[in-house]
Amino acid sequence: MSGHKSSSYRLFQALNYGFLTALAILCVMPLVHLFAVSFSSNSAATAGEVFLWPVEFTTKSYEFVLTESAFMKAMGVTVLRVLLGVSINMVLTILVAYPLSKDAKALSGRTVYVWIFVFTMLFSGGIIPMYMTMRFLGLLDTIWVLVLHAAVPVFNIVILLNFFRNLPKELEEAALIDGAGHWRIMWGIFVPLSAASIATVTLFSIVMHWNAWFDGILYMNSPDHYPLQSYLYTVVVGIQSIINSSTDMDVLTMVSDRTARAAQLFVGSIPVLLVYPFLQRHFTKGIVLGSVKE
């Protein structure tokens, strides 16, 4: 599949490659910076001497990170949370998106259903009633509170139902005539044909669970149970409050270490960065399957 070979198109291609490369460099810069800081000495980092290359190279920060049990524990909580949370998210997303992708004739009350879901995207009671609900359910300080409070990702549902709706109608009709029920159509036709969009909402769900920090601090009763981002929050933002409130020099020296902070942030972002390239192959798979079916 190669488009026109006209010279103007070739010029466009050259510019396009150049532009995208420049953009990618611009985007990769902050992470490289973080990487460079994490391998530099603290004094060089504090003096702002480190830009994209380590100054006074040292692996001290990584020795610190890899022996910091709190960091490793938090990583474990996050991994568990992502596994549980994303599974629940995806099951509910598909189960809700499929029926809602039908028109009002095929599903009576569809519009009402949709708005019941969309409404929750816009209105929330705030953290106090949320906390009281979790307390009432006895979920506080358990992994389930992190998994369940966002069990229904309405945003993802809305996206997925739009993708579902754009699948060729004929496929479903043919299957119905063959006597297939909705469950079979959903798992046998809709889900396999929507690899790209399901990969997308899965990614959204992973990222949402990965990035959430406030719920960990709010619902967990001990920093030992924090997921990674809550822990990192206390490392990066929490230290500001120490600086403003504490005059204990030893604490200040300990927390103002920029390189250790950078190393923790860097290591802490690797897993989620690896997820995307892994999911990427589904973006082309969707096309292949789709064309086979035509």
Binding site: S41, A44, I127, R135, P223, G238, T247, M254
Partner: protein, 561 residues
């Protein structure tokens, strides 16, 4: 019904057992001066603990009290230890019969959030630490135990002494209608140690043949020279004069100390000649100080980009030899200037008291001695337990000598500081200032063997530095003979320092309007400094400030006292 009876029988049996154990324990251990009275009488509901009638008794059977905790990244533990199980909780249990249960533990930055939510959902621990606003609200709702009597009866002498070390200012802030509702948490380095001071690159002074700052004009002269005369002599125009951060009034690069030199005291309340309270930020002295700053900015002495730089960025400028003059706090040298010394071993820093226009001594403004208060829930079973815990802290942290071993409650060989694990921390305001004085004495006598914590730590570091260990420089800049504490020492000996004359929770209009007024203030001050607004803008600001609620706040504040 049957169930209930069975329960009663069980309770009685367990009480008897407890009593027997108590007697045993008593005959076994005669140390510690505990005054335990075993109670053989079966109580009607649950265990009526053996009464402890004074400071530092042992509860038998043990009691349980609940609390909530905030921790930060500075909390490190020995292997297998935690905030719930550590050297303190061990002695609470074994020596004093108190089980302290943490309902939850949260990072310091979210403590108030979690506390309020937890209170709102009905989870109130037996005791906890709250700020002024929460203290006021909880007391208005009648949720707090009156501690007046309890402190009198159970507080140790040393505790009582500490609580009055600021002449009762903090105790007054915690007293409503004659009832003491909270025990003020005295800051470890509170009081005079919160005064600002001037940090100067001494090697730059030497390079340019400048003298140390004695007046504001000296400071300005130094700032101008540092900005323009190439103080680092590298032939490049790469230095700033006076360091300022965008927040103006906190951390390194504050201007509070500069303002104080003009007798201007931003953000606090002052007593005027007639004894009435007035707001510092709107006094005419502010105008003079702002005018000076705006001139410095115009002359390029202040970094043109200060409005985007927080203290982190100021620290970078210091570390990278770009900044040699700024106002700051007592600990700054230990972690900010330290990095400069690491990068550039030739860098020399000195610390000076803030200076006035004419060179006479001037009061630096001080932070409140206590922002937070330990309170006890109304109806807590053992309201005195919190005071007992405070006693225990002081007893083991400050009063007991473990010599020749180091005090295990303070620090251990692994660089862990268990002191912070204690739930009721009340410290002497001047613990570090006193340490500084002891260290100086010991250095003069060349004998540090008699020093307790924390002086011994500093003594060790300073001797190491004297022996050539450059990594200990950070101790010198703080605790050395010319370190930042020598400045605090000077303030203290000359009785310099000015507290906020208004203590206590925000008044109604204050909580409604202060944020707007503060925004207005910081915006106006920044604009004046940057020359975006003429100095006459200050007069408009004062008028507007009064109109927008300032007058009303002033009235309310004066009514309060």
């Amino acid at each position: 019904m049957k169930q209930k009876q069975k329960q009663k029988a069980l309770t009685a049996a367990s009480l008897l057992l407890a009593a027997a154990l108590t007697l045993g324990a008593c005959s076994n251990s005669n140390n510690g001066g505990t005054n335990v009275q075993p109670s053989g009488e079966p109580a009607d509901n649950g265990g009526q603990a053996a009464a402890v009638t004074g400071p530092l008794g042992k509860y038998d059977p043990p009691i349980e009290v609940t609390t909530v905790r905030s921790v930060n990244q500075g909390f490190k533990y020995d292997e297998g230890k935690s905030i719930d199980d550590n050297i303190w909780t061990d002695i609470f249990k074994e020596q004093y019969g108190i089980n302290v249960k943490n309902l939850w533990v949260v990072d310091e930055s979210q403590y108030r959030q979690k506390l309020n939510i937890s209170i709102a959902s009905g989870d109130i621990p037996d005791f906890m630490i709250v700020n002024k606003e929460e203290l006021l609200r909880l007391s208005e709702e009648g949720q707090l135990e009156d501690l007046t009597q309890l402190l009198e009866q159970y507080g140790s002498d040393y505790l009582k002494e500490l609580l009055h070390q600021d002449n009762g200012t903090a105790m007054n802030a915690a007293t409503y209608e004659g009832r003491l509702l909270g025990i003020p948490q005295m800051q470890v380095n509170g009081g005079v140690s919160t005064a600002e001071m001037i940090y100067v690159r001494a090697d730059w002074l030497k390079n340019l043949n400048l003298t140390e700052p004695k007046t504001i004009d000296d400071v300005i002269k130094i700032a101008e020279a540092f900005a323009k005369d190439d103080p680092d002599q590298d032939g490049k125009d790469n230095t700033y004069g006076l360091g300022l951060n965008k927040d103006l009034f906190l951390a390194h690069g504050t201007v509070k100390g500069f303002f104080n030199g003009f007798q201007a005291y931003p953000d606090i309340w002052l007593k005027d000649g007639s004894g009435k309270l007035v707001y510092g930020s709107i006094q005419p002295e502010m105008r003079t100080a702002l005018e000076k700053l705006s001139r410095l900015y115009k002359d390029g002495v202040i970094d043109r980009e200060f409005t985007v730089k927080d203290w982190n960025k100021i620290a970078e400028d210091v570390a990278a030899d770009r900044l040699g003059l700024a106002y700051g706090n007592v600990s700054d040298g230990g972690f900010i200037h330290k990095t400069n010394k690491d990068n550039n071993p030739d860098a020399e820093w000195k610390v000076y008291p803030i200076v006035s226009v004419d060179g006479s001594a001037v009061n630096p403004q001080l932070s409140d001695t206590a922002n937070n208060f330990f309170v006890v829930k109304k109806g807590a079973k053992h309201p005195e337990a919190m005071i007992q815990l405070a006693n225990i802290y002081l007893e083991h942290y400050y009063l007991t000598s473990y010599a020749p071993d180091p005090n295990p409650f303070i620090s251990n060989a692994n660089g862990v500081f268990p002191g912070k694990y204690h739930p009721v921390l009340i410290d002497p305001l001047n613990v570090n200032l006193d340490a500084f004085r002891q260290v100086q004495d010991a250095l003069a006598k060349k004998d540090g063997s008699q020093l307790g914590f924390p002086a011994n730590v500093h003594y060790d570091r300073l001797t190491k530095y004297a022996d050539g260990d450059q990594t200990m420089w950070f101790s010198t800049i703080v605790f050395g003979g010319e370190g930042s504490y020598s400045v605090v020492d000077y303030y203290d000996k000359n009785k310099l320092g000015l507290y906020n004359a208004f203590q206590g929770a925000a008044t109604p209009t204050m909580s409604e309007k202060m944020a707007s007024l503060k925004k207005f203030q910081d915006e106006t001050f920044t604009k004046i400094i940057m020359g975006e607004a003429p100095i006459s803008e200050f007069d408009k600001f004062v008028e507007e400030w009064k109109k927008l609620g300032g007058d009303q706040i002033t009235a309310e504040v004066n009514e309060r006292i």
